[in-house]
Symmetry: C2
Subunit: 240 residues, 2 copies
DNA sequence: ACAATAGTGTCTGTTAGACAGTATTAT
DNA sequence: ATAATACTGTCTAACAGACACTATTGT
């Protein structure tokens, strides 16, 4: 007699098989004072205790129905907000990255506005914004340095042809702010005119009023992203 | 007294923790007779027994030191060759895609030359090239239809700005062949001239001799990819 | 000569880079 | 008025799309 799938599942028990450890990590970036920051947490448990690490953790089968749930849960824990831009970056799996054995980590990249989570991050002890340039020369846990670098590189590439820099800013932003953020992400100055032309021609932003002349010089106009900006890709890249 | 990492690892046993099932799947494509094919295998075991599925399987901790090892091992098993283009696509993890419970699959996309593995694939019973257009309307296992579609879409996008279509052809190919392959991947005819200009200006191919006038019309020149073609990205995309 | 396929010349349109110019604010 | 910052005009270069043209093969 033929075994049915129901029969099979009756007997099957995942506990009978050894599966790699599965974790989810997030490289969360923001832009503040003309610089790029990455969110790191201090590990309170072994392994790699007391080292800085990307926020992340195990899938909690009682709380999460998918790895997106896991990453959103971790993001909320560490930043207090829901990130407007979260993208799966890469998955790393091998038997050397974690001393506990075969380990698989699903890595996400996220961008958040500094202002949206500054107070939350300041008031929890486990996480801090670290200057990216400093973070990559620190002795971080596991393979997290390589992961930060891969995430950084992906953001740079996407910044060349999409509006993702806007997600590292508050919902309302000015074009000079957006340009500064873009320039930091791609690590290269760009022409004001080129920048504004692209955005204007593609119809990606919507005016929301003047900025109240907060400093020196002519005040700038505030914009927010239009709905079509999400997922929009320019057909031509900026120069790398 | 402080617990050291060595102490911790002494006590730690992965078997004490329940981790999701981890599998690796590959969406392997090729171009043949002007059409796009995907490699599918017939499942011989529960769950989803007897359905077509993407080739893949569990990480074998005795054979594999990384997930790249796992995917290369699977690729070799099913195609008999090492694929010239293998890229991690995406990781899907949730508690509904597999009836056995929480399951994570790391998905790769690969391109291979039909001629390089035709005889191998014909002679194993577990795998066959299926027309992509038919594959997506078949009742395939798990979430493999969505995965095939995601892989297809990624290839399309990359074909707009890279030389990946060449990896679905033998090492030596003609420009008309490459153009036909590109057109199938992006699902749109393109101008001969635009196509050839891009490749020539970027200096991506190298002549390897005339093709022996195998049919009607003027014979075409054979080329192979230069080393710099690997990873090369055009700064401007073809029209989507 | 003709059909078929390979490959080129050249025009146009779009868009990024460069850079000089104008506009609006605070002091 | 001046400094500082925001924003625009306009030229050029690069490159994809369009399409007509020439080249080389088999019959």
């Amino acid at each position: 007699m033929q075994e049915t799938e129901a029969d099979f599942l009756q007997i099957y028990d995942r506990r009978d098989y050894l599966s790699p450890l599965v974790t989810v990590d997030a490289a969360i970036f923001t832009f503040h004072n003309g610089e790029l920051f990455v969110l790191l947490t201090k590990r309170s448990e072994h392994p790699e205790k007391d080292k800085w690490a990307l926020p992340g953790g195990f899938v909690d089968e009682t709380k999460d129905t998918s790895i997106e749930d896991t990453v959103q849960r971790k993001l909320k824990e560490k930043t207090g907000i829901e990130a407007p831009y979260v993208e799966q970056l890469q998955t790393v799996g091998n038997n050397i990255r974690d001393t506990r054995g075969w380990s698989v980590t699903v890595i996400y990249t996220a961008l958040v506005a500094f202002q949206d989570c500054q107070s939350y991050v300041e008031n929890i002890s486990e996480a801090s914004w670290i200057l990216y340039s400093e973070a990559i020369s620190m002795d971080v846990a596991f393979d997290h340095r390589e992961i930060m670098q891969a995430a950084r590189e992906r953001l740079k590439q996407k910044a060349l042809y999409s509006m993702i820099p806007a997600y590292a800013l508050p919902e309302e932003f000015t074009l000079p702010e957006l340009q500064a953020c873009l320039e930091v992400l791609i690590d290269k100055p760009i022409q004001k005119k080129s920048f504004r032309r692209r955005i204007e021609q593609a119809n990606l932003v919507e005016e929301v009023g003047q900025r109240p002349a907060s400093g020196k010089g002519r005040p700038s106009t505030s914009y927010k992203l239009k709905a079509n900006a999400k997922g929009f890709n320019f057909i031509r890249n900026l120069e790398a």
